[in-house]
């Protein structure tokens, strides 16, 4: 039995966990400002956060919120934890940032720290490093949030050798951003703060549309 034990959603400068709003900032705050405020609100110290691009910061924070009040990291075998993320824009915003730094041949100083984020699956790497997760991972690019794709692939890896998974959607483009992360386990978790919803397309669509 595959269960969703927690989920977090970040959009419109607000964060919800399991459907309950937990943090928000000014509506006119920029994405970098919002992410910085959300990071401070979590009272964690992870200096590498500040080096990440916006997509990685967004995925990192959404995962941290989803993990709050769960025993997901401590209770699961992280060598068997999969990470399955998707989005639409790939790493386009950072790609553009890098392109901008090499447009002018007379002022040609591409940043290595920007260049390393010109792949969407780096956001998976940041999560894996943060939580020492070494299971299978995949990053999919689809036109829009695709519950069918995420559920199908997650079930596949859980049927194979994974016993838990961090899944979701982490999207940053010029005009909009959104992150939706849900945690899946194959066994019942005894932590009373977690929710139990069966992993299927209908449930994932419902909780995605809930907030």
């Amino acid at each position: 039995m595959n269960n969703i034990i927690s989920y977090a959603h970040i959009k419109n400068n607000s964060v919800s966990i399991n459907g309950t709003p937990v943090f928000s900032s000014e509506k006119n705050a920029t994405l970098p400002e919002f992410l910085s405020e959300a990071y401070k609100s979590m009272e964690i110290s992870y200096p590498k956060f500040h080096k990440m691009d916006l997509q990685c910061k967004l995925g990192f924070l959404c995962t941290e919120f989803a993990l709050q009040n769960t025993a997901f990291i401590s209770e699961n075998d992280l060598t068997k934890t999969a990470i399955v993320i998707s989005n639409s824009a790939s790493s386009l915003q950072t790609d553009k940032l890098h392109q901008h730094s090499i447009d002018d041949k007379t002022n040609y100083f591409p940043s290595p720290a920007v260049f390393v984020y010109t792949l969407p699956n780096i956001s998976i790497g940041e999560l894996a490093i943060r939580h020492k997760v070494t299971g299978e991972n995949a990053f999919f690019v689809s036109k829009k949030f695709d519950a069918h794709l995420l559920v199908n692939y997650t079930e596949l890896v859980l049927h194979d050798n994974a016993s838990s998974a961090i899944c979701g959607w982490v999207e940053v483009d010029d005009t909009a951003y959104e992150a939706f992360i849900f945690l899946v386990e194959t066994k019942n978790n005894t932590n009373k703060n977690t929710i139990f919803k069966p992993l299927n397309q209908l449930v994932v669509t419902q909780i995605y549309n809930q907030t």
């Binding site: 110290s45 500040h50 080096k51 290595p112 720290a113």
Partner: protein, 85 residues
């Protein structure tokens, strides 16, 4: 030299996104990598870009980096000896 070290502190914090580090917390003689500021390999590349962008210094031999980027002070000394501005 002290003024250059202070300037470098600000540039390094900005270029390397060390948002949780204050200039006064950086000891000019502490190692930049490992136990000191805890910089990584990407940061090393950023420091090379910083030298070229702000001081017109191009490090031709990567092996030199180990000596130049030992600490903030060694970096400042190298800039003073080789910089264009």
């Amino acid at each position: 030299m002290d003024a250059l070290i202070e300037k470098l502190k600000g540039q390094i914090i900005e270029q390397l996104n060390l948002a949780e580090v204050k200039p006064e917390e950086i000891n000019p003689d502490s190692p930049l990598f490992g136990d000191g500021l805890g910089l990584d390999s990407i940061d090393a590349l950023e420091l090379i870009v910083l030298l070229e962008k702000h001081y017109g210094i191009k490090i031709e031999d990567p092996k030199d980096g180990k000596t130049i980027f030992q600490s903030l002070r060694t970096m400042a000394e190298y800039i003073k000896a080789n910089g264009k501005s």
